[in-house]
């Protein structure tokens, strides 16, 4: 067994040896060890290099607040940096490496930065790299030159680049009482609430429940506190209404008592069990939260306080009592309060020599004097540590007389030989979650600490979290909190009896010993007391500015150790009391949270795919698909060897020559039904629908409230009170929400219901000179001749035995029909139409040909109804009824919306017979080197088989007046310049003779 490991004690299993590596060297530890305790037991003192100065650093703490001993854990190719070694449970095969050192921890080239400490003070980057460029060594350009080297030299661990193969889980949980922290207060609270029958969740970030009971060495109900805690945890585990979550950090407190937690499910295992995720994200909705999160011991600020071997007092106590590891053989303590005396006794009991207790206070109580002699230590009251010695491990320290009132040092320095210096600067309640929940912390001058605010959400505090640092108080407050949270009556029943060392919870208000040398406030970001004062001298008075200028508290530990000492030093510099300097608000997360856990199962392509009923047919018949919003639609049905342009030109030409068929199932379809349906449509559309006859359809246009164009489509009157509205594919959801809003909020008196039926109907549009003949050959139950089915008429019949609804309307400009059937029969009807079309030369066409024919006709889509255009801009003013108000009617005639120089829809013909591009600009004069003065832009383009030209639709300033004039396309990104003619958007068959037939 290693020399630092004690013979007995602690929770580790000395019979089980675990093998792991750190920086490539093999080590062993025991089951129950953390990486920190195992390395400490193996004699390791050097754990990391500091952020800025590359100073050697050892363990400061034994828990989640650890700022120095950050490691990277490797699992195969995956590396996770910046994990405190104190939070890594060892397992066989663990591979961990240290950080921020080149080439090795012991020989670090970056340590040369320590010589430049005066230069690398707070604000170094701002001062060196900001401002105007004066000579070669200043300014932004210099920064860009230096950045590479600085980024390499400064910093923490390196993130990996390998994809993370681990699985992460997500759980939503509900409970009456969530208890955060499982020390004596949390255990009592959970027990009391559970006994009331409440559903309880107890979460603790450590692997073992029990908190301070695991190492306090106290006695509860006549048994060691650690045993008492284990028994309590076992009792709770037996309750059906209690869920225990060890290794679970509650890291966020959000509105409505929603809390976020991260459970490390398998990080401590060599191999995960089947189905286990690496980590699990918990979203917990709690009726009441009991915050029993304990407190953090604060470091003292004095020269050399960061040397490896200088450690928080309770951390050493914890290593000895919980892990059976002595952090040193000759131990000195430096304190401003009573709690360190207990630590001294514990370490003596564990087998270390305690050489001295150095207390800044001159007046020491008899109880503490007794503890000093129990520890066999020399008491140096009214003294302070002014220096530490040693390189990669502590060898000694120097003390001087110290006056706590004035902060002055006097007398000769005295050297003390020690390999471990424990410090205690008082305790800060862990109020992070309460602060996140929404209120400001309150300074307590007796405790010299920020205490939790009055709750603004449903939480109750207990134990050290509230500033009640003794275990007896924690037990009483815990039970009271648990009862209150569960709605139980206050109990006066007997409480577990605690035997503990005495101690005054109030420290002396001493945070810093001012002596020569670097005194660290923020260990992880290398911020010294002098940096804080420098910030003050340079005019930073607000605590928020101080934080940003010095980066105090902005490292991965978020200032768990450094906040209060930093504030105290700033307050002294300002000559103000601490509460007037203020504190920063804590924000989530409490500790680092893996991105993987936040994403959980939600990664990759999260969009649902919407497929039309005929999707499989399209795939089987050679369609090349592309996505349109969530939908997949055929782009072309290409023949072997065809380009996209060849395919769509063939499809469009064949449609105009014989017939073509296209899947239009994606159009939005909304059933608008009820006695007031016609009235409602009159208000929603710009044109009249109440005058529409049953069995007829009409093209409609909607505006937004601000008078701009919103959406278009046809609406079919199926019955007196029954309309089927179609919308553009892209706007289906928006139109639905728009209609619902007006029916529910603005016009609740209208008796109308709207129902989305997009997915209920399959739609096929069949158009071309032969379209009617094809239908005639396959439709039964109705005629489809001009008298029975006139333009915009609707008939009901059957195709292949399937009931269908046919409306004669045209997007392609040909004689065309839309055939709707129940979605489940879509493919059957589609195949029957294809079969019937064979003798007539029917082709299937995709979106490209659809777009080509609509451009030829000058119809608008979302590219033109782009949220900026009005009905007039799109030459749809003929649809604006003057007989009734409608949504947008009051606003559509505003000055700016009717100006003659607005962008208006035009057609564009390429005069150089080359393709045009969407987004290309239209200009009056061509200046390729200096493109400017755009008249507008192209919204859609194609090769038109009907015209034999490259054409486009465009929105052009005062476009209507420019018909017949020359302009140029200017598209510098794609280097496309050339002459165009501006024409009407109605390129093809402007009088509609083809579709009226």
């Amino acid at each position: 067994m290693s020399p630092r490991r004690t013979e007995t004690g602690g929770r580790i299993d000395r019979l089980r040896t675990i093998r792991f590596t750190f920086d490539g060297a093999a080590y062993t530890g025991h089951a129950g060890d953390t990486l920190a305790s195992a390395l400490l037991a193996s004699g390791v003192t050097l754990f990391g290099r500091s952020f800025k100065y590359h100073r050697p650093r050892g363990l400061l703490s034994a828990g989640v607040e650890e700022p120095n001993a950050l490691v990277t854990v490797l699992r195969g190719e995956v590396r996770e940096p910046n994990i405190p070694a104190t939070m890594v449970e060892i397992y066989d095969g663990l591979v961990a490496v240290s950080q921020n050192r080149t080439p090795s921890l012991a020989w670090d080239i970056g340590a040369i930065n320590q010589l430049g400490g005066k230069i690398l003070s707070a604000g170094f980057y701002y001062k060196t790299f900001m401002g105007p460029v004066i000579g070669p060594l200043k300014g932004t350009r210099f920064w860009m030159f230096c950045e590479h080297f600085i980024r390499r030299a400064a910093g923490l661990g390196k993130a990996g680049t390998a994809p993370d193969p681990a699985r992460y889980g997500r759980m939503n949980a509900f409970c009456d009482v969530l208890v955060v922290g499982s020390g004596p207060a949390g255990l009592m609270a959970a027990k009391a609430a559970a006994d009331q029958g409440a559903r309880v969740i107890l979460a603790d970030l450590e692997a073992n429940l029990g908190g301070s009971a695991n190492w306090s060495g106290e006695t509860i109900d006549g048994m060691p506190a650690a045993d008492w805690a284990q028994r309590m945890a076992a009792q709770l585990a037996g309750n059906d209404n209690v869920r225990l979550l060890p290794r679970t950090t509650v890291w966020g407190y959000y509105d409505g008592n929603t809390l976020a937690a991260l459970e490390r499910v398998t990080d401590h295992k060599e191999v995960a069990a089947t189905g286990e995720p690496r980590q699990r994200y918990w979203a917990i909705r709690a009726g009441t939260v009991v915050l029993a999160t304990g407190s953090f011991e604060r470091p003292l600020v004095f020269p050399g306080n960061d040397r490896p071997g200088v450690m928080l007092a309770h951390a050493a106590e914890r290593y000895a009592n919980e892990y059976g590891v002595l952090p040193g053989q000759r131990i000195a303590l430096f304190t401003n309060n009573d709690s360190a005396y207990r630590s001294a006794v514990a370490l003596k009991k564990a087998g270390a020599a305690v050489v001295a207790i150095i207390d800044v206070r001159g007046d020491i109580s008899n109880e503490m004097r007794r503890l000093t002699s129990d520890a066999g230590a020399e008491l140096l009251a009214g003294h302070a540590v002014v220096a530490t010695e040693g390189g990669k491990a502590l060898t000694g320290l120097k003390v001087q007389r110290f006056d706590a009132m004035s902060g002055s040092l006097s007398g000769d320095e005295r050297s003390i030989h020690a390999d471990n210096l424990l410090m205690s600067g008082g305790w800060s309640p862990t109020i992070h979650l309460a602060s996140q929940a929404g209120a400001k912390a309150e300074w307590d001058p007796a405790r010299q600490a920020f205490l939790p605010p009055k709750p603004t959400q449903r939480w109750i505090g207990a134990g050290a979290f509230t500033g009640s640092f003794s275990t007896a108080e924690a037990i009483a407050e815990g039970r009271a909190a648990g009862l209150q949270a569960a709605g139980g009556a206050v109990s006066s029943g007997p409480l577990p009896v605690v035997e503990a060392a005495p101690g005054d919870p109030n420290p002396a208000p001493v945070f810093e010993i001012k002596a020569k040398g670097k005194s660290f406030v923020d260990f992880q970001h290398d911020v010294t007391a002098e940096d804080v004062r420098l910030a003050h001298r340079e005019g930073f008075v607000s605590v928020e500015h101080l934080k940003r200028y010095t980066t105090l508290g902005m490292a991965t530990d978020q200032g768990k150790n450094s906040n209060v000492p930093g504030l105290a030093i700033m307050a002294e510099a300002l000559g103000k009391p601490i509460p007037e300097v203020g504190t920063t608000r804590f924000r989530p997360p409490y500790t680092a949270v893996s991105i993987g856990s936040l994403a959980a199962e939600r990664f990759g392509d999260l969009k649902p795919e919407r497929l039309t009923p005929m999707h499989d047919w399209h795939i089987a018949n050679g369609a090349r698909m592309y996505s349109a919003g969530l939908w997949y639609r055929p782009m072309i049905y290409g023949l072997p060897g065809e380009t996209v342009e060849q395919a769509y030109v063939r499809e469009a030409r064949a449609t105009r020559e014989s017939a073509g068929i296209v899947d239009v199932s994606t159009l939005g379809k909304i059933a608008v039904q009820g006695p007031d349906a016609a009235e409602f449509l009159d208000r929603v559309y710009t044109n009249m629908f109440s005058t529409l006859a049953v069995g007829k359809a009409r093209y409609g246009l909607m505006l937004r409230e601000d008078g701009l164009a919103f959406d278009d489509g046809t609406t079919w009157r199926l019955g007196e009170q029954d309309f089927l509205m179609t919308t553009t594919t892209a706007n289906a959801g928006k139109v639905m929400q728009h209609l619902e809003y007006f029916l529910d909020v603005i016009w609740p008196e209208l008796k109308v219901t709207v129902t989305s039926v997009t997915d209920e109907w399959a739609g096929a549009a069949i158009g071309g000179p032969k379209a009617r003949a094809i239908l005639a050959s396959c439709v039964t139950g109705t005629a489809v001749d001009n008298a029975t089915l006139p333009f915009m008429g609707i008939v009901h019949g059957r195709i292949a035995g399937v009931p269908v609804m046919i409306c004669r309307l045209s997007f392609s400009g040909e004689m065309a029909f839309e055939v709707y059937s129940g979605a489940g029969y879509g493919t059957r009807v589609w195949e029957a139409l294809i079969e019937a079309g064979k003798p007539f030369g029917l082709v299937t066409y995709g979106l490209e040909a659809l777009g080509t024919m609509r451009i030829e006709k000058g119809h608008v889509t979302g590219a033109e109804i782009d949220g900026r255009t009005t009905a007039r801009d799109l030459h749809l003013d003929w649809m604006l009824s003057k007989k009734k108000p409608f949504i947008g009617s009051a606003m559509m005639d505003r000055e700016g919306l009717i100006a003659s120089d607005r962008l208006q829809l035009v057609g564009v013909v390429a005069l150089d017979n080359r393709p045009l591009n969407g987004g290309g600009h239209i200009v009056e004069e061509l200046d390729e080197a200096n493109p400017h003065d755009s008249l507008g832009h192209i919204t859609a383009c194609c090769y038109s088989p009907a015209l034999g030209k490259y054409i486009a639709l465009a929105l052009v300033k005062g476009g209507k007046a420019r018909h017949g004039t020359r302009a140029f396309v200017s598209d510098p990104l794609r280097n496309r310049f050339g002459p165009v003619e501006i024409v009407s958007n109605h390129f093809y068959d402007p009088d509609g003779s083809r579709m009226h037939g």
């Binding site: 509105d255 929404g438 929400q737 619902e740 809003y741 529910d744 909020v745």
Partner: protein
Amino acid sequence: MLITCPYCGPRDVIEFTYQGDGNRERPQPASQDLDAWNAYVYDRLNPAGDHNEIWQHSGGCRAHLRVVRNTITHEILSTAFARGGHKSADNRAEGRS
């Protein structure tokens, strides 16, 4: 944040869609008072405190709700169906008749 839908009970905010300031007053449909229309279309209250808002339970029953929410604490003070309760000139005319 939880919003209590009168139909569906307390539901997570993720199920709802914010539909804007609930204090807006829509002019009579035939009104030509451009200032009133302008106020309705563009003016939004943005109080630091209690705010009268319209939310749609778009991931649930799709009803529109009138929600009073404190914009500082996110506390939901009340929820009710928007139907009928909206400050619409239309509604008031109807309601009194």
